[in-house]
Each structure stands twice: as C-alpha cells, then as structure tokens.
C-alpha cells in the first residue's frame, strides 16, 4: 500500500525503492571483505600473471624485459618442459588416488558414525585429530615412522614377516608417491567423513522407516535412497578436497623435498622461483596452476548446481 501511495506522489521514485536500498546496503557490507580480498588475492595474482610475461629473476627483480608468452610457448617454455609435465602428472595422480581413497573411506566412516551409539560424540571429536595437526608436523611424524632404517613401520612389518628387507618408503621412486598418498588419506579422511556425515544426517528418518516397513533390503536402501540423497554433499566434499589436493605442497616438500619422482606443480613452482631464481618462468608455472584450478572450480560448480537442482526438484 505505501508503495502505491509513493508511486502516486513521486512518480520518479523507482519501483522497489526498498529493494534498491537493500542492494546498496549489501554492497557496503561486503566492501571491506572485497577490498581485503583484492589486496591479498587479486593484486598478487595480477603481479604473478604480469611476471609470467617477463624474464624477471630473483636477483634482479626490477630489471626485466617483457617477453610475451615466451615463458609458456617458447623453445624453453613451460609447455615444452618434461619436468613440468611430469609434475602435472604427479599432481593429477596424487589427486586422483588420494581423493578417491578419501571419499570411499570417508563414506564408510560416516556410515559407521551415523549409527546411533553412545560413543558417537567422542568418536566424532577424536576423528578430527589428524585434520587438526598441522600438515608439516604430521608429514614429519610420518617421515620418521616410514624411515627406512629406524622407522616403526618397517620394524613392525619385518617383525610380522610381511617384508624380508626394509623398504625405502619415501626414497624408492616406486613407493614414494604411494607413501605420500597414504599420509594424505590419513590426514584428510576425517574431513571427508565429517562432511558426508553432515549430509547423511540430513536424510529424513521417515524415508528409512517407510523403506523398512516396505521391506526394502538394506543394500537397496543405501543404493537407491541414501546415496542419491547424499550425493550433492559428497560432491561438495570431493570438489573441496580436489582443489586442495591440486595445490599440494607441504606434505610432498617435507617428505621427499625436491625429488623429481614426487614433485607436484606447487613444488615445481617453488623450485623454479626460489632455488633457480627464475621469477618469470616460475610465475608462468604458477599461472598455469591457477588457471587449471580455476577451470576445474567453474566446471565443478556447474556440475554441482545441476546435482543440487536435481536433488531439490
């Protein structure tokens, strides 16, 4: 009613003046955060992209020339570097292995934790411990446990007679990536489990009861009711973990340093930037990593929106 009165009195006042006010207020509220993001995210990103188009080096940061896409597609450019592609391969392999293992294990743990039990609250808290330990600490811890001469893992396996000679868990090229995946799974499974548990607890109890009265077998209930209903939740968890895993640095750097066999994209970037002082080249690699992750995020968000719409429909 007031709006129509307003319309009659002041025809110039746009319809939905309140809505416009709300939009303005929202922008004011968001402005500080946007400024901070631009300062700590946007500006460094733009500088990295700019450096990637120059021949800048660490020892003479201000003395550079613009060389266009030379760092990417030149004769010695990134796309021609076998080391880079090796790092990309390592990263993808690490991401694929660790995220799928974490998803499966996380789902299992979440299903167990979803069973009513007095231990549940305690277990839920205990579960978070690996996730709460800083990665550098847990990586160092595992490095010691996996040490080829003094590590407890080798000692136990030898004692049990499962292996005849100690294994070089982090030094053996065949084993190193596997060891890293193992530690990442140990660390990130709780995170997966908690996200999936949250999704599980959103499934209405009466759906289960209806299926129970109808005599639907448990496996069918899981496959046809539980899984479709928690799928959006699982997808969110998988996307979060994937984006995380693609940037993996600390775990690999602590456990195997600069070893070519396990080098991830982030480790490659650090090596070029710091060890070799090639700021331009390293920035090009960092920019590639950024665009890969950005592309994946956009695709994932599109897929998730579809999944959510289907779940909501």
């Amino acid at each position: 009613m007031p709006e129509t009165v307003l319309q009659a009195a002041f025809p110039s006042v746009p319809r939905g003046g309140l809505a416009a006010q709300r939009v303005r207020r929202a922008w004011w509220m968001a402005a500080p955060m946007l400024l901070v993001l631009a300062a700590v995210g946007g500006w460094p990103l733009l500088r990295t992209i700019w450096f990637s188009l120059t021949d800048s080096e660490l020892s003479r940061l201000d003395d550079y020339t613009f060389i266009g896409l030379e760092n990417y597609v030149g004769e010695y450019g990134l796309l021609a570097s076998t080391d880079w592609w090796h790092a990309v391969g390592n990263t993808l392999l690490f991401t694929g292995l660790s995220v799928s293992l974490e998803t499966l294990l996380g789902l299992g743990v979440a299903l167990l934790l979803n069973q009513p039990s007095r231990l549940r609250t305690l277990l839920r808290a205990a579960l978070l411990v690996p996730w709460a330990i800083p990665t550098v600490v847990s990586a160092k811890m595992w490095s010691w446990m996996l040490h080829d001469q003094f590590g407890i893992v080798n000692q136990q396996l030898l004692a049990l007679g499962l292996i005849a000679t100690p294994l070089a868990w982090t030094a053996d090229p065949q084993l190193a990536l596997f060891s890293i995946v193992l530690v990442d799974v140990w660390k990130a499974t709780p995170y997966m489990a908690l996200l999936i548990l949250a999704a599980l607890q959103m499934v209405p109890v009466d759906c289960y009861e209806a299926a129970q009265v109808d005599g639907v077998p448990r496996w069918q209930v899981f496959r046809r009711i539980t899984l479709p209903l928690i799928l959006p939740g699982i997808l969110v968890a998988v996307v979060f973990r994937t984006l995380d895993a693609l940037r993996v640095f600390d775990l690999i750097y602590v456990m195997t340093s600069n070893s070519r066999d396990t080098q991830s994209m982030s480790v490659f970037v650090r090596e070029q930037l710091i060890d070799f002082g090639l700021v331009g080249y390293g920035s090009a690699a960092a920019t590639c990593l950024f665009f890969m992750i950005a592309l994946l995020s956009i695709v994932a968000m599109g897929l998730m929106r579809k999944a959510f719409e289907r779940a909501a429909a």
């Binding site: 209405p204 009466d206 759906c207 009861e209 209806a210 299926a211 129970q212 009265v213 109808d214 005599g215 639907v216 077998p217 069918q220 046809r224 009711i225 479709p228 209903l229 289907r310 779940a311 909501a312 429909a313």
Partner: protein, 382 residues
Amino acid sequence: MSRIELRGVSKSFASTPVLNGIDLHIEAGEFCVFVGPSGCGKSTLLRLLAGLEDVSAGEIEIDGVLVNDLPPARRNVAMVFQSYALYPHMSVYQNMSFGLQHRKLPAAEIEARIAEAVRILQLDGLLQRRPKELSGGQRQRVAIARAIVRQPKVFLFDEPLSNLDAALRVQTRLEIARLHRALGSASMVYVTHDQVEAMTLADRIVLLQPLAGRADALSVAQAGPPLELYHQPANRFVAGFIGSPAMNFIAATVKSLGDGMVVADVHGMVCEAQLSAQGLTPDEPVTLGIRPEHVLLGQGTQQARVCHVERLGELSHVYLDLPGSRAPLLAKSPRDDIAIDDLLPFELPAQVMHLFRADGVAQARSNAAAAGAADPAAAAST
C-alpha cells in the same frame, strides 16, 4: 483376513512409561482409530504395530502370529506417515514401485497394481512428477497409493490429515472412508488427535490418555463404537475429550438417592440424574456432566444470566452464569436472538445427565435411561 490382538502391551522410553497395560483386539476389516491428546502415546502404539519400535512388555499378534520379534517387512503392514515420507528424489511412479521391486513380482503385476491405485486415488498425470512438485493433498494421496499397492493385511495411518488445510482435510477424510469400504477386508488403524476424524471414520475408537508419570494408570481410557463413547463415557476423561464443544462439568454433592435416580445439589440448585444410585452415598462430592447440546434453553424452572454468546450462524453457543461456579454453563441453541445479560430459564434434563465420582469413574446409566439415550448396539459398556 487379519485380526490384530494386543495383550498387556506396555512401552517405556528409558524410564518414562508411555503406554501401559493395553489389551485390545481389532477385528479383520475393522476401521480402528486411536485418538487422544498429545503425549498419550497413540503414535507410539502405531509404531509398535508397525514394528518400528519394540514393546517393553506384552504381546502383539497379527493373524494369530506373534509378531513381537518380526521386523516390519514381515508383518505385512503398510504405513502412511504424518510427513508422508515420500522419497524426495523419486517420481510418483517410482515412489509406488520402489517398495514392490524387490518382492519378485512380475512387472505386469506391478503395473496393474499401480494402475489400480492411480485410478482409486486419481493420480493420473502426476506419475512423472517429484514430490516437491505436488500439493499437500496430492502428496498425501501418493503416500496412500504407495500403501495400497503393497496390498497389505493392515493399513497404518499416522495422523495423515494433520498437514492439510481444513477443506482438504474434510475431503480426504471422505476419501479414506470410501477407500476403506472399497478395500473391504483390510484392517485400518488410524491415529489422530482430532476427535471429529475419530468419530466420522471409526468403526471403533480407542481413546488413549497420557500416563503423566503414574505407573499404575492404564493407557486405554475407553474403547468402543463412537456413539458408545459419546453417550456412555466410562470416565470423566472420555466425557471431556469426546464431543465438541466439550461437556459441561459442574461440581455438586449427592443429596438423595432413589431407584434409578440421583438427586444432587449444586449450590442450592437441585439437579436430577437418571442414573444408577449404586455405590453412592448422600453428601458425597461428585461432578455432574451435561453436553452443551443437551441443555434446554427457554424452558424449565431454573434461571440464569447470559454472560457471553457466540453466534455461528447455524446455532449459537450461549454461556450461562451458574451460582457458585467459576466456569459458565455452555448451551447450544438454534436461536440467534439471545443477548448478553438476558435472564433465561433453562433445564438440565435428568435422562442426559452424567455423574462422575471423585476418582473420575462414570456412574452407570440406569436401564430405563440407557435404552432411550444410547445407541442400542453399544449398550454394553466396556
């Protein structure tokens, strides 16, 4: 044919008793309604029948088979949930077929059953929709259809109408009554807190009362045909719950006792009740009860002032000030010309008066009165 028999059934959650001492049998094809105020355990009783909860004591038999330890799937019951419990990610068709798929039924049989349910509940054109795209009434019908295709021995309804608006509730109530006639042999057990639903649908009402922490109280306040509960409530709780607006209760003392007649004193006003005098003693404090529709206005020897009037169109609710009573006496009257502060003559006819002793138990109607006031078939009190 499916008879349900409950013997000494009790249920407590942790140390809180919810249901106590339930002995009940539900005949094959009977429409039995569990009704009661919130917290009386009626939904819990239904879930005990479904097998979604374990009994704490007692036995449940369906068709002569002890089902205490049988999982829900093997009891051959179908349940319609208060929230409908439709599978949100499945279409209407899938919602109906899902419960049948693992039963190794031929596809043609599943098709036929669904087609039949669709016809009965008029679901044509909705089969490919998801629950989100349906109105409340449509969801309710899908939930009922999902139960029908199972062809169970017993249908269990848990407050199926409570999420619908008033008009739709009346319509769906009619549909459920019709459905019960159409399905014939299947028993239906229906839970509601709404006594109108209970009165209109039930062959038999089981009125449950909250235990309120008393370990010795029984859950079933009265069980019987709707009119028996209306005309011959076994106790004050039943009398107050059945009937709308509720029965008037008036504190009184017994003045004298006759043959099939009790005379009581209400602050100097003399009231007669055609009830058995057995067990009563003069000067005993009692509670008189009379339904608003039985109070006669505009005649009789008593007089009272009108303190409030509600005009509903078809009739009026007239509130009378009684001497020495805080609660006014409510009377239904077809007249719409009664005004506040009018002084009206009224009468409390002796043949429709109820009388409750201090422990709430109703005084039995003397034989002469029972024949006139109550449903003859329901004359035997439970």
